[in-house]
Subunit: 231 residues, 8 copies
């Protein structure tokens, strides 16, 4: 096999969070090869040097290819996520709240929550709290107020991001989802809605990008940010 | 002058609401000519036969052209609306509530409210009740619950439509506005948001179409709908 | 199973119409679970407290999952709708007319008609009355004039909404459909057409959203709107 | 002045209709230079060899630049058209009907009508016959049925094209106009509507392209098409 | 079966060309039912009263459903067209040329050519004459010059329409196709290209709409247009 | 004057950061009125209760209207920002770095930096560090590594966000700007680029939304986030 | 079989590079027929007269159809390319570097590299050198500086094109790929990014168009460009 | 004045072509400041070290600001370009042909031609050679065949790029222009047309980006490309 990847093994040391592999456009063989390269490296430098590697958007075939090379990895089918090492680390830093507007948004929300957990955070998930009935989100108000970072996962019109941002001190990361039909245009309606949130404190990641949101939430709520010095 | 218009004088008899003239793409002379034709007709058949004619999107020059032919017309600069006859009719039917998300949305909201009033309804306006602070809309909850029709005017992410629809029995007419910048795309973000409202009971009119929303609200809250008979 | 939904059981009391479940993005298991939660609740508070629940966009597998938990529910394959309880209520209020431009628009039209019927209205359906031959719609003119609300379902260029609105007193709810090809862009052409209708009195719901249109038609034609009081 | 144009003097002989000059993106000096080149050529080969040249989208400054070089040219400010020679030729061939949906569409309709007249056709114009009141177009039904080509000029939702095509034997050329606001997107809504016309027999030119529509109508209704021979 | 269609049996008398049935969004049963209704009508009034009915976009299953009700119909799989009666009529009027840019555009070109033939015209097809090598189209120059109407079928950048229009007297009907990938956006690139053709004399139909183009070509090249009379 | 606004005076207490007023769509009189309401409130409850109010997108006329009601406010013309009280607070929390790709992006970058400063952070600005020459950003590598939050302001292709995110531990907030022309589509190219950043850790705000980015950066780098407790 | 193609056999003599056949929209039979026509021609005029023909986007079925008519052709499944004759020619001219941002972009990169090789160039491929870690591309800096042409293949945000162009003397051909999801819109984000590259020296081909990029790279790095003479 | 720019003085040494300053989004003062910085640097290291700096999109005010700091610079108003030093260098390398479809495209074509000249190439300009009359471009066939690089500048449907590419050996750089109206969408139609060119050998730069095209043409036709060595 010709070389197919040049993995960023140094990312954990450089940035604090390890490489993740987006498996969707890759063949099953390529996924296995990448997992193999990771295992070889970890055998050389040790797991602690590399951090938790995540394989995202992994259907069962791709997940099994990864697991064949990284025994002990954990596969979460609903979130289409493989994590290695499989054990969730002990949480440090602030708490992340992941609020999910509807049942159909759950796969993306779970991807966000699991990512933040594997990157070292405590996470609470709120399910089916969309604005069609405000009581569903307002009853969690105190929890939201205490969060260090809030991830809002919503499709359709994505109004939940604005509503939550109006309630909290913490930054809100909006994840528009492709849930919807017709003029939702595969998540564009929710994306535009979140980009135009009337309440400040909302930033947005790509449609269905639960991984990116979980990563950001982990960064935002990280402990022990050292003070900057002069350049 | 060659003929420039074939006015729908029969609309009030046929549909219950008179013709309206969208002045934006018309020259000042064309506006004056249309007003003249209306006056001539009304001198022939009588005002009661024709209903209240509205001239929408009328800047001062166009408004004055209309007023020169229809003395006694009323001009509302903020809403860019001319109504003739100028007197607001006595309201009948259910009450219309026009809820406006932000100060910048006021011109469109006023156009909606004035249209519904000239078409015969009682109207209450709620100003600056956007979702960045939910208390602003929730304190009007009883008023909203009792409305026969609710018009929600909002730009940016347009989330107010979903939130209001979740609270009320009456139909909600969403009017996306071009208020915003960047990825609001001149009102497209709010339009898509309202079309994808997660709460049923929202329908949408064109961006900035306060006139259309007021017209619909008047139709929805009209009194004395006669029972249908068999065909 | 972790919690997957927080159903809005209070919607019938709060808004007058029960919750509906959009099944398209949900797994078969999630549909069954939601149906089970609904049945449990209804066993607690009684069916009359909750109203008719609808499951929309239900293919056969999802429909059977719902029926397994809610025996006595009625499934309409053409409209992809499950209703529970299955019996259509006795109609009250004004009559709804659902006008369908072409044969291919029928599934959406049937969804609209059934929704309005389960929400308590008398509904008449007009089939294949597109504007390529005006006689087809004009022969129903009297029926249209007497309607309390008109739903127009059309794909392609969606011109029927403007034409019907020019004929009637009642509000017209336009439902653009994804029927068409090429530059119909999955219903966008019809959507834009209806949003720009030259005749006032048209509002629009999402592409293919028969449920939303039927819901709105039921609201608009509802009986016994109580008079508003002062705030 | 460096050379700025390479005019297609042979087009009248080759295609039967002369060159036209789109002035909008050209400077006043360039317009004058092009007119001068035309005059020089006509002095050489004679006017009859070249046909009627049209300068389209000419505001007053550009029109005067052309007139300074081509005395005897005729300027039509409403249609922003300059024609030279200025005299309209005697009509031959079938009759063209130009139907204009609203007063604001008149400039485009006049450009179409004048183009067809200068290319040698008899033209009848119908003004303000949009579908908000079907009687306005239906009262011209016989005229439409006898046309050799029909140009339909409409903005907003552009439904007139479908309605007219359903009535006539002749080809319909749809000209979407930029009349409208919000979700008309500068004429895109009308363009898409006409491209998706449910009645066959409609083809479409660019938004606001009255010139192109008039040209096509003249071609379609031309007399004396000679029979094809074998290749 | 509830009524599913209201066929336009009078179109041949009214417009000169019969109804066509777009089968793509219809079920196999609906196609059969429509064919049955047509046969019943033809048994009543006679085939000559109705003209040739076409069923477009018919895959094999839909085609067989039609053929089961209309024996003697002719099916053209490449063009996905069923015609009934199956015999092509004797051509009258001017000749139509259908020019096809590439091999992949053939299905659309064949649909256009067959439609024009069944509507009574003589048709010549030019295959694979795209502009990447101008000699391929220029060698047919005389044939093009003699055509009464030219249909240009092209995907990708659609430049052939402009090039052909620059050569001929006859109107050019551009049919953008969905052939291409990436930034062709399913035919949008070719559509926009043809709408912006720098040579006058091009009008455009919907992407892949071979039927519409063939219909228009037949109208344009029809014999015996009677002279208009005064209104 | 009718009521035009319902200011969110409680936001500083509720969320930790005061209300901001987007002045762009408001009249000069409305800006003055809102400033007057703020002053009145501050006279009642005291400035410390309300926090620093910002007026964004303020041209000179709007700024002067605000300053007339809030003497002592500070106006920054380049950033089109008015702050009141005018004195910048003593910074607390982590340091924010604002990296600006080109000179034309400076107004947005300054708005972001000033917002973060008024919300209490230490800010360092990097100017003209776009990727056309990587050395310009790489020479600030240590500064970037020590930041608590990084704001990247870039138009055109917006590549700087990905490049910076690959270097740092802190979250990156991308602000696409409308700098560019043609296929930048007013900032859409940069927006899409940032939403698709191949390096995790980038979230995005609306085009040209320097205020929103500064607000988020201040939230992310805030001191003393209290630990969440159980709900 | 009716004629289905008019192959451009003269292209190699006219332009220096042979015809290529885009197989994606063609049937298996059409692919075989085109291959047969090519073989027949080559038997007549000799292979050297025609150059290497390429069949692009060939899945296995289409490839086998070609191979059945052109024995000795070479099929590259990853790149979906068939070349005939199968032997790669001896390279002449400057060297081409193909830089590929991620593993998922490999099929497009391989298509570009193989095309340039069959058109006579030496090619070096760089794999997985995206900007999330700049070291991956910077370590190849000398190689890039010496290239005669650089092809950059990247999906997602496509930032690699700008970064590479900032480093090199040679022209950069950007190939946006459809790798990504959500707001990558099938490669549009990368396409816009590359079109707006802040570093001059980047031009762009269609999304996923590896063939076109390889062709251009071969043209740019061709040897022996003869000096122009006066016209 | 705070620092506003970090100029890339090393670009001429690194890439062979100097920095260019896009002035459009910059203030007059910023343009002057940048020119001043350039002059200071050139006084330090000498002009020969820096190459010709270009200021693009410079209206008269910005041009004068530059000229005030860089006396001896040359301003070309039609192309909105300032070059310093003002003298055009002696051409080396292959010849560049710039072909311009219409008179309105001249400013962009002139920008491309001047850029290539200041970067050291011989340039020939062809004016008004659009495809509406093929003879205009075909009469320059030999000139095109001998070019080392061809720049095609075209608005509207941009078909000229495909036609030219079919004729020549050299790479074609397409520059779509914003010339057109309606569905040209500010140059998008031409952009898409060129991206989908059916003839290989076309790559595309941003709409109206004459500078970028001239830069690429100079790179492609540069003399003395040194042979690559092994890495």
């Amino acid at each position: 096999m010709q070389p197919i990847a040049d993995l960023d093994f140094g990312r954990y040391q450089r940035r604090g969070y390890a490489e993740a592999v987006f498996t969707e456009g890759k063949t099953v063989d390529q996924c296995a090869e990448i997992a193999r390269l990771w295992r070889l490296k970890s055998e050389g430098v040790g797991v602690a040097e590399l951090g938790h590697v995540l394989f995202t958007r992994a259907d069962r075939a791709r997940a099994e290819a990864v697991l064949s090379q990284l025994p002990g990895a954990q596969y979460y089918p609903e979130a289409q996520l493989v994590a290695w090492p499989g054990a969730v680390p002990e949480p440090v830093g602030g708490r992340v709240v992941v609020a999910c507007a509807g049942t159909s948004d759950l796969p993306v929300a779970r991807e966000a929550a699991l990512t933040a957990r594997y990157l070292g955070r405590d996470v609470i998930e709120l399910v089916d709290v969309g604005v069609a009935n405000l009581d569903r989100i307002l009853k969690h108000r105190r929890l939201l107020e205490e969060a260090a970072a809030v991830v809002v996962v919503a499709g359709m019109e994505g109004a939940l991001a604005s509503v939550v941002a109006g309630l909290v001190r913490a930054p809100v990361i909006g994840v528009p989802t492709s849930v919807g039909y017709g003029a939702s245009f595969g998540g564009v309606a929710a994306l535009l809605s979140m980009l135009n949130a009337c309440a400040p404190g909302v930033s947005v990641v790509n449609i269905d990008n639960g991984y990116g949101a979980g990563h950001l939430a982990a960064q935002i709520s990280a402990p022990a940010r050292k003070e900057p010095t002069n350049d």
